[in-house]
């Protein structure tokens, strides 16, 4: 593709978009699909045809709008009217009233403005507003312009500098400065170099990356291609969980579309830069998201992490310099290049710029996929965006960071969300899960649940994680059945310290967090289980023994 062709196509698409008075975006992401989104989509198409408004109204199949609690969700533009729990029957009425008679159906609208008020959508800028399967849709909203800019008007070092100045940190969890990582790979000797986009989001209850891939795959591809240009890579892999069939399908089609348009492949935009992307499927291993394990998995081996150094930047795939970024990190890149690092670094906090996507789930009134500026407090997320816990229930704890994130109590809710504050409190940013618990959840049982998850997902290479976590699980399981005595709590803390400090990779190093934080902030619940043989939440002691509440 020539630079002019991109501009022409964008203009043409923009005009086409503007020629419609209405645009109906039907969310067909994994969250809405199981609840009949495709039927709703075809109902809208039929209704538009039957009503004879085809020329005025465009019906689009889009990715996630973000309000998963009202699935299937439908967004009508202009005006961003959001309809909830849409059925084929409702679709008919919406077309009749809203499109034909220009009277939005108030009774079907999602009236929750607070849900969006504190959100800021950078990564999810296009989610729910474009058809992920049409590359033209992405180009119409300015897609691939950043790549054009990078390839034709910036040096690789210039790109790295811009990303470094933006202060962007890796969104996969560890929060390493992206610009710095790119620089390491750019300076490493060895050829070829590789870029890996990490979409192995295996955390239970986390679906931000998947949603991104389903809603805006080209943002990932564009960010990845820019990264490749910056570090001098010629080949890229997107490593995606095979449990995400829709994301896999969407990415596959997006890569094909980009190739057929010449946005991937040889001599992109008639420059000397060539880059190709291949999709690699995971097969059900949480640990494969760890950056050395992902290398093993792409090389067709057991996804067992290895010690670092050497870092993948020096010795990655097949021993070659390799850049590994989370897909959310990559999706930020095009915007940073187009709007500038200064704009980006003005968002969030001084040390932690930009936004973060979270899957907000658990005992919260408005679960869904949210994107918020860094530095927002947990209280704002849980109570304003999330709408608090269900009526009649009391907030108990919030877990941030996936299965190995810590649990934070009420008194820490004013903690700002950034890497440093969370780590200090015993939680982690992780890949972006926020799970809210109310007074019906038992903290001992919950710690046990997450420990069990990590036991199942441990690769088994190192002793602390393989054998230590299992013993930790057994002890916690004992507590929920009335076993153990109070001195066991010291033993648990000592064992947790060993696992945390001596494990080989991040999985083991963070796995004790749920136990350690619940011990720290909810110790009374442990004491109650062990001494009084009672579960305050009434969850444990199912098989006889002391009764619950």
């Amino acid at each position: 593709m020539k630079p002019d062709e991109l501009r022409n196509l964008a203009q043409k698409e923009d005009e086409l978009r503007k020629s419609y008075r209405y645009r109906i975006n039907v969310c067909c992401s994994s969250g809405c699909m199981p609840f009949g989104a495709l039927k709703v989509l075809s109902a809208f198409k039929d209704a538009v045809k039957e009503s004879g408004v085809e020329e005025e109204c465009y019906v689009a199949r889009t990715g996630c709008i973000g309000t998963c609690s009202i699935a299937p969700a439908v967004l009508v533009e202009p005006g961003d009217y959001l309809y909830q729990n849409v059925t084929p029957e409702k679709a008919k009425e919406i077309v009749k009233e809203h499109i034909v008679n220009n009277r939005p159906v108030k009774s079907m609208l999602y009236g929750n403005e607070a849900y969006f008020k504190k959100q800021l959508r950078i990564v999810l800028r296009n989610a729910g507003k474009i058809d992920p399967l049409r590359i033209e849709d992405y180009i119409a909203v300015g897609g691939y312009y950043a790549l054009l800019k990078a390839l034709t008007r910036m040096t690789p070092e210039g790109v790295i500098e811009e990303v470094a100045l933006s202060g962007l940190k890796g969104r996969g969890g560890a929060g390493f400065l992206t610009g710095l990582k790119w620089r390491y790979v750019a300076r490493a000797t060895g050829s070829p170099k590789y870029v890996i986009a990490n979409l192995d989001e295996g955390d239970p209850g986390v679906f931000a990356n998947r949603t991104l891939a389903e809603a805006d795959p080209h943002a990932i591809i564009e960010g990845m291609t820019i990264a490749a240009y910056a570090v001098g890579a010629s080949k890229g892999y997107i490593y995606v969980r095979s449990e995400y069939p829709l994301a896999v399908e969407t990415l596959k089609k997006a890569i094909e579309a980009a190739k057929s348009m010449g946005l991937l492949g040889e001599k992109i935009f008639e420059t000397a830069f060539s880059f190709d992307i291949e999709l690699r499927l995971g097969a059900g291993a949480f640990v494969a998201g760890e950056e050395t394990a992902i290398l093993a998995s792409i090389e067709g081996r057991r996804a067992m992490p290895r010690p670092r150094p050497p870092y993948p930047a020096q010795s990655g795939l097949w021993g070659k310099p390799t850049l590994i970024n989370n897909v959310e990190t990559l999706a930020n890149i095009p915007v940073i290049l187009l709007k500038g690092s200064e704009w980006f670094s003005s968002i969030g906090t001084k040390n932690c710029t930009g936004t973060k996507c979270f899957s907000l789930t658990g005992k919260v009134n408005n679960p869904g996929l949210i994107e918020v500026p860094m530095g927002i407090t947990l209280r704002e997320v849980v109570f304003e965006i999330g709408g608090g816990v269900p009526p009649g229930r009391r907030f108990k704890a919030v877990q941030v960071g996936g299965p190995s994130g810590g649990f934070l109590p009420e008194q820490l809710l004013d903690l700002p969300i950034d890497y440093e504050s969370l780590t200090k409190a015993g939680a982690i940013m992780g890949s972006g899960g926020i799970v809210v618990l109310d007074d019906t959840s038992c903290m001992v049982d919950t710690a046990k649940f997450f420990t069990e998850f990590c036991v199942d997902e441990s690769c088994g290479k190192c002793t602390p994680c393989r054998a230590g976590l299992y013993k930790l699980y057994k002890i916690l399981d004992g507590f929920t059945q009335g076993e153990g005595d109070i001195q066991d709590l010291d033993k648990v803390e000592d064992l947790c310290e060993f696992i945390k400090e001596a494990s080989l990779c991040g999985l083991g190093q963070t796995a004790p967090n749920p136990t350690l934080t619940t011990l720290k902030y909810f110790r009374d619940e442990y004491v109650s289980h062990i001494v009084e043989k009672k579960c305050p939440a009434g969850k444990c002691f199912k098989d006889g023994g002391g009764a619950g509440s």
Binding site: V455, S458, G460, A502, L504
Partner: protein, 237 residues
């Protein structure tokens, strides 16, 4: 030519080849660091975590078998914390499968047993797991008891890197991991196995052994050095 770096281990100044790991350098200088999965001559795993050390300036601990030396590095091989961690590592390995020394072929020649003595692991604070893997006696010369395996993968590495066969690997993962021959076949029917015996020679415990002989007679240590000398011949040749 590789560069030489200078570092201190427990205050003692030593010179080392750049790229070598701390454990190897310590041993060359007669400084003892307990270790279990490490085996000189094959690649390091960094799995057992017995060989952890501290490096001044870092709050973390490092597995010395996989941490390369660096100029000016100050390594500490013994501290209250390190002893506590090493004890946990041994304790967890002992509790992971039913290690019963009194009826084990390796009794008296077992590295796990020896480390338990040395580190004072005189009891277990966690419940033991009494696994019941089937004893594999199908090979005419060797035997394999998975109930005694500590998953150090020495056998896997020596079979792959020294014998060049890779008849052994791990199946499953995490706590369910198990050392297998071919497709979890019985040893005697594993077609890839060349019956060279290196795996049983390097097994630090009594999981892989030569039938009919107590390990004290096999003189394990000598066999190990035999294996390693073969390796160097191979590399040179």
């Amino acid at each position: 030519m590789s560069k030489t770096v200078e570092l201190t281990i427990d205050g003692k100044k030593v010179a080392a080849k750049e790229g070598d790991n701390i454990l190897k350098v310590a041993r060359e200088n007669n400084i003892y660091i307990p270790a279990l999965c490490y085996l000189e001559g094959v690649s390091s795993l960094g799995g057992c975590r017995v060989c952890v050390v501290e490096i001044r300036g870092s709050p973390k601990v490092f597995a010395s078998c996989v941490t390369p030396v660096a100029e000016g590095m100050e390594v500490i091989t013994d501290s209250e914390r390190l002893r506590r961690y090493r004890k946990w590592a041994i304790e967890l390995l002992l509790a992971e499968r039913p290690h019963v020394c009194s009826v084990c072929v390796a009794n008296g020649n077992c590295e796990l047993q020896q480390l338990a003595t040395e580190l004072g692991v005189d009891h277990l604070r966690v419940d033991r797991k009494w696994t019941n893997y089937e004893l594999d006696l199908t090979h005419e010369r060797f035997a394999y008891d998975p109930n005694r395996c500590i998953l150090c993968t020495r056998c896997i590495r020596v079979c792959d890197e020294v014998e060049g066969v890779h008849a052994i690997d791990l199946m499953l993962r995490g706590k369910n991991s198990k050392v297998i021959f071919d497709l979890d076949d019985k040893w005697g029917f594993a077609e890839s196995c060349t019956s060279c015996g290196k795996c049983s020679a390097v097994c630090p415990v009594g999981a892989l052994y030569v039938k009919g002989k107590p390990l004290s007679e096999v003189k394990k240590k000598e066999l190990v050095s035999f294996v390693m000398s073969r390796r160097s011949e191979k590399t040179i040749g």
